[in-house]
Symmetry: C2
Subunit: 506 residues, 2 copies
């Protein structure tokens, strides 16, 4: 059918044309079916049907699609029905709990990338994946397909070490310390990190307080080869781009299917040609992994998949029942991180976690006594020297110190309402409070903990401080802190158990 | 946050506001999160984020939503973040294969109806339902919730008989015959039917060739009580409206979860207060039900659910391996249907199916020897008389005959390319050919079969004729018929089996 193209100037979330109900009837097209625009192209696109905003004989086409097919506003073009992509059948197969072939998986991944699958279909895919899962062979093929959707960085140096944290624990500012120690030891670790999605501060959110994180692939390669490490934001390169498209659907559903999660991690590592990988699995209430059994399962999955993909993978299950260190939020975490590199020994949890994990990487690189060696490199100032080299290479201040970091000017104290011991700290509540204070987009916003688990606080003493960039957010975060009461403070006597026989006599 | 409302004049498929990226950051709103517009209303709505089509400080709002909340273009209004509806958690629960409570199911159904759930979430819901299913108690609650989303018709007469076909077999034009026989016997059967979704012709598609089908609830009630029967289109009343919203998501996914299908059927029957229900389950290649075991399962499900909901339900498993009768397509089916009512005895398959099913309904109504009684009512002309009363009540021609029906003027013959017996007829291919010829929207379009299964055709004889409203469509349908070759014609000798010992000696 020949229809007149009309520009539709809306940047819809997903590419879509809008055609008139009667033309669609004629074309045999139903809502969410696809058409091919112009016989010369192979571009198929999902159709929305309307009888109000488009006239019969016309078809509304978004600007980007017009450019792609080389059609101008008001030009006539041929529109034909296009059958569903084969990948819809493969999604059905996964709904029916069947194993998918390499080609079927590859088709799904590329059809998501090219928006040939609508959000409705991608949602069904992720739900099927969440419920029915994938075996290791499928996940390996899935990972490879995701790598193939984007850029791949090949280094002139090998081996390539990499490091990843499953996340979920606030205040985990160890990445720049780990990278600096490992690079100072002469190994290469080109680290790409993420920004916060639902957390208070991702690694890239606090690193960009003191240097650029948006490196292109060429800069990442050059810097890593010259200096031994980088602190890049993974999103600034075209690495496994399909992953970000999927996150937009996972978020509203609140799911992260295991197969998708594993393929997402490993594809990013394969895209930077990692040969050795250490994965940090924080375990604790409010993180992704809440039991040792679950943590071991993740570790097994990652190592099995890593082996299949030719990446030597090790895992570290770490303590995640409370924040790592005392600072949560971009500037506060940046300052605490740099202080440790400057030689401060507190908070000890940050030093310990960073050195133990860096030590595991050193041992993977053939350096014996890894953790001790890591502590030596940190204590001697070599790690700080390497850190400053990386910061400078990423356009940060040449001789940066922790004093350079500007934290939020508006501070609200949250005090103990009774005396006792901190029995537990709710990670999720702290994240909610820090986000209300403005983190991660307000760089100065966040939380500074004065007490951690097991420590005693007297009534009226400060438990934590809220930092914000304006008074209103500080106040709002404090209100939330009082409502959520994220620290559980009790005496040593937790619960009185009355005598049951006494109860019976009532 | 206070934002300026701006009219967004697009009838989006789902209600959605568009806000600027920076305002969303400030609000803590991510893509597909929800906001509440104006503190006075409880209306929450999904947000799309843009930095091109909306200015900072403004929010684009569709016309319908503006009217709903009583806000005018350019008015300032308060916008606040709104957490995900509880129903998202219940969807997660079903993904995790847990049983849902009556309240949880009710919330999901009403949140779909009120567009509080986005299409992404509804897609995940249907996928979870497809994979993990529901038990009978859940389906009963689901059905009741669906009934509650719409209108309910209460008759002054009881009992209320109803009839439903699972569909999937082309040419199934028995409904007006069944209704006419049952009504002529003095029972009331207020039948609501559907239009074709993917088939060549739904009951309403061919009934509207000779009378109105879009009756409102009051007309349906009045007509059924007076005449004993109606042939209404279910979509013209506000009966279980949520069902149609769900079909829009099921279609692109190509799924129809069992729980959804059962709730969909029974909710429509409950909405018209049915007390007795007969369900036709056509079984055969290319229908929804392909084996006797599967058919029995459907029957068991329907009867169990019907009992729980207080509807006496019986099922008939019927032959669906080829079309019912010879005609496929609106006018052709209308003509064949009326001819049977006029007293023609061919095609026998239509007479037989209609009388057997009508007979089962008569027996449910306490009339003994149902099938014989049904044949008597049909043969005596009482059914035709009743049919004409119903047609007249629905604004059709007073003394309608089969001669009044106008069929397509453009005819293409499809002939046997070799002599032999019709071994099989592919229902799906016939549907595709009829749709290419223009059915169901071109009323005259369709197929007339000259041969059915088991019959002999000599080379060059007509197997079937294609009818269309213009030459181009007739030609296109014929090309498709030649390509698809929907009738399998073989000699009595189907396959020669060579002697294996002879093969070995080669």
């Amino acid at each position: 059918m020949r229809l007149k193209a009309k520009l539709f100037d809306v940047d819809a979330e997903e590419p879509r044309v809008i055609a008139h109900r009667e033309d669609c009837k004629e074309l045999g097209v139903k809502q969410m079916d696809r058409v091919r625009l112009d016989a010369r192209t192979s571009l198929t696109i999902v159709v929305s049907i309307s009888d109000t905003i488009v006239k019969k004989g016309e078809i509304l086409i978004p600007r980007a699609i017009m450019a792609k097919i080389g059609v101008a506003d008001k030009q006539m073009l041929e529109v034909v029905f296009s059958p569903k992509p084969e990948s819809v059948k493969s999604i059905r197969k996964k709904m029916d709990s069947q194993k998918l072939t390499r080609d079927e998986i590859n088709e799904i991944v590329f059809d998501i990338l090219e928006s040939k699958l609508s959000k409705i279909e991608v949602s069904a895919w992720l739900t099927a994946l969440y419920i029915n899962g994938m075996d290791t062979e499928e996940i390996a093929n899935f990972t490879q397909s995701m790598v193939n959707t984007g850029e791949k960085i090949i280094f002139d140096r090998t081996p390539v070490f990499d490091f990843h944290s499953l996340g979920g624990v606030p205040g985990n500012k160890i990445t720049p310390i780990v990278v600096s120690i490992v690079a100072a030891a002469g190994l290469m670790l080109p680290k790409t990190s993420s920004r916060a999605i639902s957390s208070a501060c991702g690694t890239s959110d606090f690193v960009e307080v003191f240097c650029d994180v948006e490196l292109d692939a060429a800069t990442l390669k050059r810097t890593a080869e010259a200096v031994g490490g980088v602190f890049a934001w993974g999103g600034s390169m075209n690495i496994a781009p399909v992953d970000d498209m999927v996150i937009d659907i996972e978020y509203p559903l609140g799911i992260n299917p295991r197969a998708q999660m594993l393929a997402s991690i490993l594809s990013k590592k394969m895209a930077i040609s990692a040969t050795h990988l250490l994965v940090d699995i924080p375990m604790g209430t409010g993180t992704k992994v809440t039991s040792l059994e679950q943590a071991r399962e993740y570790a097994r999955d990652l190592m099995e998949l890593g082996t299949r993909l030719g990446i030597r993978t090790e895992c570290a299950i770490t303590y995640g029942d409370q924040p790592v260190g005392n600072a949560i939020g971009p500037a506060l975490e940046a300052r605490e991180c740099i202080r440790i590199l400057e030689g401060h020994s507190h908070p000890a949890s940050v030093v310990e976690k960073a050195c133990d994990l860096a030590g595991m990487i050193l041992e993977m690189g053939g350096i014996p006594d890894g953790p001790a060696k890591a502590r030596e490199i940190l204590a001697s100032g070599q790690a700080f020297k390497k850190f400053r080299e990386i910061v400078e290479a990423q356009n940060g201040k040449k001789d940066i110190t922790s004093e350079d970091i500007v934290i939020g000017k508006y501070v609200a104290d949250v005090r103990a309402v009774r005396s006792g011991y901190v029995h537990s700290i709710n990670n999720k509540d702290l994240v909610a409070i820090a986000r209300t204070a403005g983190a991660p987009s307000d760089k100065g916003a966040g939380i500074l903990l004065y007490r951690k688990k097991g420590q005693r606080a007297e009534k009226g003493e400060i438990l934590f401080q809220i930092y914000a960039d304006n008074q209103a957010k500080a106040d709002r975060a404090k209100d939330m802190a009082i409502k959520l009461d994220p620290m559980d403070i009790e005496g040593m006597l937790i619960k009185k158990v009355p005598n049951p026989s006494a109860l019976k006599s009532i």
